[in-house]
Amino acid sequence: MAVKIIKSKNFVETDFVESLAEVPVEEYKPWPENDKLKIVGKPVSRIDAYEKVSGTASYTTDKFLPNMVYGKILRSPHPNAILKNLNTEKAEKLEGVLKILSFKNCPEISWYYDTSLLFDKNLRYQGDEVACVAAISERIALEALKLIEVEYETLPFVTTASEAMMSESPKVHGWGNILDGKPDTYVRGDVEKGFNEADQIIEEEFNTQVVVHNPTEVHCSLANWDDDKLTIWDSTQAIFSVRDTVAASLKIPSSKVRVIKKFMGGGFGSKLEAGKHTIMAALISRDIGKPVFISVDRKEMNLAVGNRPDSNQKLKIGVKKDGTITALSHISYGSVGAYPDSAGCSWPLKTIYLCPNVKTEEYSVLTNSGRSRAMRAPGHVQGTFALEAIIDDAAEKIGMDPLEFRLKNYAETDQVFNVPYTSKKLKDAYLKGAEIIRWKRRNKTPGSQNSEVKNGIGMATQIWWGGGGPPAYAALKLNRDSSINVFAGSQDLGTGTYTFIAQVAAEVLEIPVEKIKVDIGDTDFPYCPLSGGSMTAPSVAPAIRDAAEQMKGKLISAAAAILNLPEEELMYSQGLVSSIKEKDKKISITEIVSKTRNRELITNGAREKNPDGYATNSFGVQFADVSVDTLTGKVKVNKIAAAYDIGRTLNPKTLYNQIHGGIIQGLGYALFEERLLDRKTGKVLTTNLHSYKIPTIKDAPEIEIAIVSQFDPLNSSIGVKGVGEPAIIPTAAAIGNAVYNAIGKRIRSLPITPDKIIKALYS
């Protein structure tokens, strides 16, 4: 197969990333609708489910190697301090302690985009790493942490973005607290003019809280050296990024590092970067010649491995009486914590609604708290909550139905890049979702019900990337027993990667899914992108298809040689190569491999390039039906209707899983989840799941899903768009709008807790 190398630009979580990619020159025709397919689009059960339900799935936390030792990390208890002195003598004497790593004996390894070190003497948040102890048991390592004597010089600190922006506030680093010294700005048209044309102008301010990923499996790594080769088992969403960071940190060639991840207990964005603990495990293991396992505990999960930044957003919208939006402006402030990251959240406002005049300013602000990291649809979740609330308020102001208002301002093309979409079926989603929730029964006058428990209905729209793109590769191997192995350096976070890979290969080769063995999660396999940005399926599935189509070609070629027929005369169907002319001239895969014997057939597939001059986005809408107990302030979400355009459904079972999971995380974001930080002490109050509240099965509402898309005809030969992140984006906004519809008071800050409701109603 002819290939070429191109420059490929894809959106990954918060930014465009450009990379060189090998892509096939010729492209396949997109598959037809799912009802014409045999395996793709069918509710195939997860192929890795057996291990999961029987408890035999081995996660990184379950790995055990002979002689393995355990590392635990000492962290700064202060929001801002200088490490004056460190005495590890007593700890070293404790029986079973093997090594203590700190700034005293660790090479300088740059971290956080060169703003800090692996062990830095400037400790800029409660949780910054001070030392790491390795011992023969986790308990001894924990005991040893208590014996380390540390002298801190505590410094003044800032905990909120608004405080940090004041000129007299302490600086988290030497330089100013606003990242890059200025906001990220975007201007389209002339907002002044736009607001002048408006009949109504609405200005509102919204606040959203910091939330924490809290996947069920903590972050952990096991490192083991054989000679100069390092193997790392890691609970990660990005094996190649971990490999490269480890290699760079240890100054060794990346070919010497192998990163493996078979099963992991979730990530949601927090495991897209190599952790400091991973580097520490590798360093200590090299030093003491034993495998080292380091895991963080739930408290560290809530302090030190990332979060969704908070936001303070000032929105302004201008509308005409007929419902035309004339201008939109957005200023947002978000605290990224102690080290650089992005807290911007303007994107939905720039693109969802037709509007010629838009201006946005996004401030990412440093504070003395745990650093943010990409979390399921970074920015979009915060931004959508505020945007969709003010959209509802604008509709109410001009006396228009919120759904009609959204349809009135429907954008047919991408307004930022001024290009068409490869597909957009949001309109269908609106109508379908409205039908499911029975939109017409919503309160025409919010809060008008005359009962203690009031019901309300609200909606919210979402846009996300999700087109994926090259580079992504996969190799296929046809085995002697006529089964197939797929090798790809992708990873399954629980999202169903194993399963869709098997389905795509089985679809092309027209053989049962059970014949396909999927091997992923290993940097020894061909490169695939990190599992984030909802781009795994759209990037990897086409590469699998390519490899499988090539395998079909090879089978035809092998059959031609065996049957002494020209290749053109042969066709492949359901595991058989047969002559088009003479029906009885045929040969099965099994017979072919019995001839090729151990000379297995191998193919390499690649993701094709994205079409030029188009934008690919996933679209969707959620409608929420809630009840609010006006006596106690308790909110109950009764139902969510979710209608999506996500291109092709590869597997409804895993797709629905993703949407359900996103919605419940969105519900947690809307109602309970909140990292609380004491402004006086700079310390986090919610360091466990006792205080950090994740939804339980009792909070799960009824969810009804409608997929309004068949496939995206232009993005790739598979036509799937991402859904992992789209699922969470509109939930909190829809719930917020439904609560308003129920009680007639708008809660402009998340989470919507009973106290905010009670206060809004009674004080």
């Binding site: 059960s45 979730g266 009674y762």
Partner: protein, 478 residues
């Protein structure tokens, strides 16, 4: 480091285990680190995620009863003479069992990390319930957190299991046989009853308190959250359940043993007969595996200002029965709390039981609790009320509130005000004003002081709205 090793004998899945171990070692650490049964996961070590859920089978009056527990809070000492079941112990030789299969078919598993815990909890339900009801089955999963699936596929799996398998019988032995027959349990469950009986004959003496004893562990659901790393280095005493008569009644006087668990209260026929809504109150308490372990005495001695059982018992004007080697005495519960986490109790005194009297047949009772997350959460504020009405007037009232003072409060002034008055809107509004003076909430992670005041007023109103729906309406009150 291990100061105190004990000989412990039990059955883990199909294997007999006998080991000398510190009785405060958590079962989670033992099964993962010593037995290397890694299907049981650690997610939080604080009873809040359910990834570590296991089943305990025990002989109670010669019957084999199973219940779920969080192994991260469970001391090995409590396994003596029991059957410990982990996910590995549910696996059949050739196929998945119907619970596992339903999780596969209905999308009940995504990353899978929480899955063994869910399967254990649900199997616990099947073993426990006398007839299967969907909402109860779902309730039995209230201590298992899944961050991936949104619990929807899990709910569907539960539905499917109950659709395909219905059963109504309260004989445990028959139930176990039927579950084996239908592939829910492996064969070896057949012999567990007899094996446990045999083990019970050879059990060593129970652990007794000595002067060195630093911790008295009952359910462990408070102690193991706060002190697990110290417990394992200390001498501890484990309180074992007395097998019989945890809850008794003599002539309107009720006794609850200190080691009775929340589940024991919910399931007690005696309690149900006087508080038909008990299940609704205490389903708001923690999660099923916590309720299975959390004890009445533990709740009182923990002295948390928002303890739910304490709040409930305060409104019954309960009496605490204390004892040590030399002395037995009683203290009214409302006088037991001296200040924040300070009690009228000597370190070596144990709560033997709690008692209360119900003098009127027609008493009224209500319990209210509001927390950030309705289920599996500690209250921001809770409140209970006990009322007797005679000729339209309040003849007796006991009112309690938690989360509004350093100790669980018995609201004496409000009570005195309401006594002998009619439960009418004006009176209640005046009562709320007195209530407001009687409390001293502070701002913390569960809410600001101002909010807690407002919330207690709402709960106070809620009591009367629920108990006197014909006399009092919300519009007038608010």
């Amino acid at each position: 480091m291990n100061t105190q090793l004990k000989n412990i004998k039990f059955i883990c899945n199909d294997s007999d285990v006998e080991i000398n171990i510190h009785p405060g070692t958590t079962v989670l650490d033992f099964i993962r680190n010593t037995l290397r049964l890694t299907g049981t996961k650690e997610g939080c070590r604080e009873g809040d995620c359910g990834a570590c859920t296991i089943l305990i089978g025990e002989l109670i009056n010669n019957r084999l009863i199973y219940s779920s527990a969080n192994s991260c809070l469970l001391p090995m000492g409590h396994m003596n003479g029991k059957h410990l079941v982990t996910i590995e112990g549910l696996n059949l030789k050739k196929t998945l069992n119907p619970v596992q299969q339903a999780f596969v078919d209905e999308g009940g598993t995504q990353c899978g990390f929480c899955t063994p815990g869910f399967i254990i909890s649900l199997t616990g339900y099947l073993l426990n319930a006398n007839n299967y009801i969907l909402s109860d089955a779902v309730n039995s999963l209230d201590g298992n957190i899944c961050r991936c699936t949104g619990h929807i596929g899990i709910k569907r799996a539960v539905e499917k299991i109950l659709q395909n398998f219905q059963y109504a019988n309260n004989n445990e032995t028959e139930k176990i046989l039927l579950l084996i027959e239908n592939n829910f349990l492996p064969e070896y469950f057949k012999n567990i009853l007899n094996r446990l009986k045999e083990i019970s004959l050879s059990l060593k003496e129970e652990f007794k308190a000595t002067e060195k004893s630093k911790y008295i562990v009952s359910g462990g659901t408070d102690l193991f959250v706060q002190k697990w790393d110290d417990i394992i280095n200390s001498d501890i005493v484990l309180i074992n359940k007395s097998k019989e008569k945890l809850i008794t009644e003599v002539d309107g006087k009720f006794f609850i043993m200190g080691e009775a668990t929340v589940s024991d209260l919910i399931n007690s026929e005696i309690i149900k007969s006087i508080f038909p809504d008990i299940k609704n109150y205490f389903n708001l308490f923690g999660s099923l595996p916590i309720r299975n372990r959390a004890t009445v005495a533990g709740n009182i001695v923990n002295a948390s200002p928002i303890g739910d059982i304490t709040c409930f018992l305060l409104a019954l004007n309960a009496t605490v029965h204390l004892s040590n080697e030399s002395l037995k005495r009683t203290v009214p519960l409302k006088d037991f709390f001296k200040g924040y986490k300070s009690l009228d109790k000597a370190p070596d005194e144990l709560i033997e039981s709690v008692s209360f009297e119900i003098t009127s047949e027609k008493f009224l009772f209500n319990f209210e609790k509001v927390s950030r997350r309705t289920y599996l959460d500690i209250a921001s504020v809770n409140s209970s009320v006990y009322l007797e009405i005679l000729n339209g007037e309040i003849k007796e009232i006991h009112l309690s509130a938690g989360g509004v003072a350093p100790i669980p409060l018995y609201l004496k002034k409000t009570r005195n005000f309401l006594l002998n008055k009619k439960p009418e809107v004006d009176i209640i509004i005046d009562g709320a004003a007195i209530l407001n003076e009687e409390i001293s909430p502070i701002s913390d992670a569960r809410g600001s002081a101002e909010y807690k005041r407002l919330l207690l007023r709402q709960l106070f109103y809620a009591h009367f709205l629920k108990l006197f729906p014909e006399i009092i309406n919300a519009e007038e009150l608010l």
